[in-house]
């Protein structure tokens, strides 16, 4: 099966009028192997304005990375399928865009920072060469080599690396420095959207803060919109305007950071996530972890996917999928709030 067939689905227009940077509508992604079908993303909706930052929060396996990869259309060719869904970037449906168009967008309009900087850089090329390549791919034709090389120096300086180090190989850099290189590479073409997939998870705690602060500064300076994928609510609080909480391939709660952190209403799962982080202002003896594990994505439960672990679950939760409760920008998919309305 060719790459084009994989992403072809009949839903949606090729172009729509919108002032939003990114709109994801009812996106579904499955991984098919010989024996099983993994439902990685199950019909999510997401909107992101220009220059906004959204935090995509959830446990490992919630479908965050799959969502990110499907925006860039970098899902593994052999196994991944998108049965339906639309992804509009500046009004253009990426799911239906030809591969050549995607290549122009990748690295230029949308960039991605991957989780593990240790393996994200090619070990046999110097970091300078790798940044240069990103620039060269999207540079207008009149740019000379010298101009591009000057830009390599510039972006390295931007992420706090002395340009002299551009002739060194990735293994000569520490983890934090490598991630800076990856960030420099991602920002080299000043993309409109930066997808950061757990950019600090693989780093030491002290380095994490440095990298995060730097990313925030660069985002503000360049006006880049950002999708920050993380399982760390602390990072979200520091960097994001909006938050979307993912669970078992669904967005179960979304809204402004204010909505999630300070309003009284929260999805029980979000509640649980907050219970899992130590709060220094409160005098509690123990953390309150969420009991149980995420459901098996090859065999999702009936009703609300969170119901087997939910302390408030009722019979209805176990049998019927919950509707979305909307309160301004704040959306919660839970029977708890749907019932209150009735």
């Amino acid at each position: 099966m060719s790459k084009k067939d994989l992403y072809k689905n009949t839903d949606g227009e090729k172009f729509i009028e919108t002032d939003k940077l990114l709109i994801i509508k009812n996106l579904e992604v499955i991984y098919k192997t010989d024996k099983t079908t993994v439902h990685a993303v199950n019909g999510i909706d997401l909107e992101l304005g220009k220059g906004e930052t959204i935090g995509l929060v959830g446990e490992t396996g919630a479908g965050k990375t799959t969502t990110a990869l499907s925006i860039l259309r970098l899902l593994p060719e052999v196994t991944a399928h998108t049965p339906h869904g639309e992804i509009y970037f500046n009004g253009e449906n990426l799911i239906q865009a030809p591969e050549e168009r995607m290549r122009d967008i990748r690295g230029d309009k949308i960039s991605m920072i991957f989780q593990d900087p240790m393996t994200a850089l090619n070990p046999v090329y110097t970091v300078g060469e790798q940044i240069y390549e990103a620039l060269e791919l999207h540079a207008p034709e009149h740019k000379t080599k010298e101009e591009l090389n000057a830009r390599v120096d510039e972006v390295l300086k931007m992420v706090g690396i002395t340009p002299e180090r551009k002739n060194e190989y990735p293994h000569q850099f520490s983890g934090g420095m490598k991630q800076r290189v990856v960030i420099a590479m991602a920002l080299a073409c000043e993309p409109e959207l930066l997808i950061a997939d757990e950019p600090t998870t693989a780093l030491d705690v002290t380095i994490q803060a440095q990298v995060l602060i730097m990313m925030r500064e660069l985002r503000d300076r360049l006006g880049t919109a950002m999708i920050m994928i993380t399982h760390d609510l602390g990072i979200v609080a520091q960097t994001c305007d909006k938050v979307a909480v993912m669970y078992a391939g669904e967005i179960i709660e979304s809204g402004t950071a204010e909505d999630i952190y300070n309003s009284g209403k929260r999805h029980p799962y979000t509640e649980g996530l907050f219970g899992s982080i130590p709060d220094l202002t409160e005098d509690t003896d123990r953390l309150k972890p969420i009991p149980g594990l995420m459901p098996d994505p090859t065999n999702l439960p009936k009703g609300c996917y969170f119901s087997p672990r939910c302390p408030y679950a009722t019979d209805k939760c176990r049998s019927e999928h919950p509707p979305v409760h909307v309160d301004g920008d704040h959306k919660i998919a839970c029977w708890l709030f749907a019932e209150k309305e009735e």
Binding site: L72, L74, V78, R103, D104, I105, R106, G107, D108, S111, M112, F114, D116, T119, A120, L121, N122, P123, V124, Y125, T126, E133, A134, L137, H138, Y169, H171, Q172, V182, M185
Partner: protein, 309 residues
């Protein structure tokens, strides 16, 4: 860099000494003394004793070993039992012949195997993958001498393109090269393919795609260079196997190289000749391995930084 080369050269010494020790020990197990072999049946006891004394055969094993090594340092490989010539003079003429066949076969294996390996990995699951892979499986399982016989039968006996009894012209090297090289081409193809498949799944490949690289650039620029690093070592190891394989192929094609000399030496129970052949084979193979390691260290930036200061 030079320090590394010198270090590797010095490491060769114990390896070669060890190889001589092993081969001397193995051959010392053979029945019969040199005198028996030289004199043939029906000899006089005095004559027998004298020969053994002259050759130092009555000395203990280690004395003989150190004497051999001492002579070797002086460039003396000993004297053939069978025709009383110096072993080195026999070896000298044949080393280039065997090396030529081996290097040609190696070049064939690498030039056919590696590009095919990359191609099949890139076109995984298509017919450009399945057909060469199936062919490689068959060639990898074909004994070199049988392949040699088949090639000889079709191209020399049936079609008459080559002479059945070669005289040592360049054209006569083609069939030995093919039969030695093709099974190894198959092995290198299989190895390159799996190395390439591994490289394609690496994170930096995803990074390259996320940059907006063309698929062609992703494969040929980012994946191939990484995938070929381990292949270099495998090619080096193939050299050893092929050089050893000349023993069989030279007998089949009546090539006058080290391999046929060794087989002849075994037939005549000519220990100095056999030892000399093994020492030369071990030495050449170790040198090639060393060159390959240095090459690897030079190409891979991770090892290069460590060795070349």
């Amino acid at each position: 860099m030079w320090r590394y080369v010198v270090k590797r050269l010095l490491l060769l010494i114990p390896v070669i000494l060890g190889a001589i020790l092993i081969i001397s020990f193995v051959l010392s197990l053979s029945k019969g003394s040199p005198a028996e072999i030289i004199l043939g049946p029906g000899f006089q006891q005095e004559e027998y004793d004298e020969y053994n004394r002259e050759l130092g055969f009555s000395d203990p094993f280690f004395v003989r070993y150190f004497r051999y090594v001492g002579n070797l340092v002086k460039g003396d490989f000993g004297t053939s039992y069978y025709n009383k010539t110096s072993v080195w003079s026999e070896l000298k003429a044949r080393i280039p012949i065997s090396l030529r066949t081996t290097f040609m076969a190696l070049a064939l294996a690498a030039l056919v195997g590696v590009p095919l390996g990359v191609l099949t990995a890139v076109k995984q699951y298509s017919m450009f993958d399945t057909i060469p892979t199936a062919m490689a499986m068959i060639f990898a399982a074909t004994p070199v001498f049988w392949l040699g016989m088949l090639l000889m039968f079709f191209f020399a006996v049936k079609l008459g393109w080559f002479s059945v009894l070669p005289v040592g012209k360049f054209k006569d090297l083609i069939l030995p090269t093919l039969s030695l090289g093709l099974p190894h081409a198959a092995r290198q193809m299989r190895f390159t393919r799996s190395s390439m498949l591994e490289a394609i799944r690496e994170d930096y490949i995803r990074t390259a795609r996320a940059k907006g690289c063309k698929e062609r650039t992703v494969i040929w620029h980012h994946a191939v260079k990484n995938a070929l690093l381990p292949v270099i070592t495998v090619i080096g190891n193939s050299f050893g196997a092929m050089f050893g394989g000349t023993v069989i192929i030279e007998k089949l094609f009546v090539v006058n190289g080290i391999g046929s000399l060794m087989v002849k030496g075994i037939g005549n129970r000519d220990v100095p000749i056999v030892t000399g052949c093994v020492v030369i084979i071990a030495l050449v193979y170790s040198l090639v391995t060393m060159v390959v390691d240095i090459l690897y260290a030079y190409i891979d930036p991770r090892t290069k930084a460590r060795f070349i200061k």
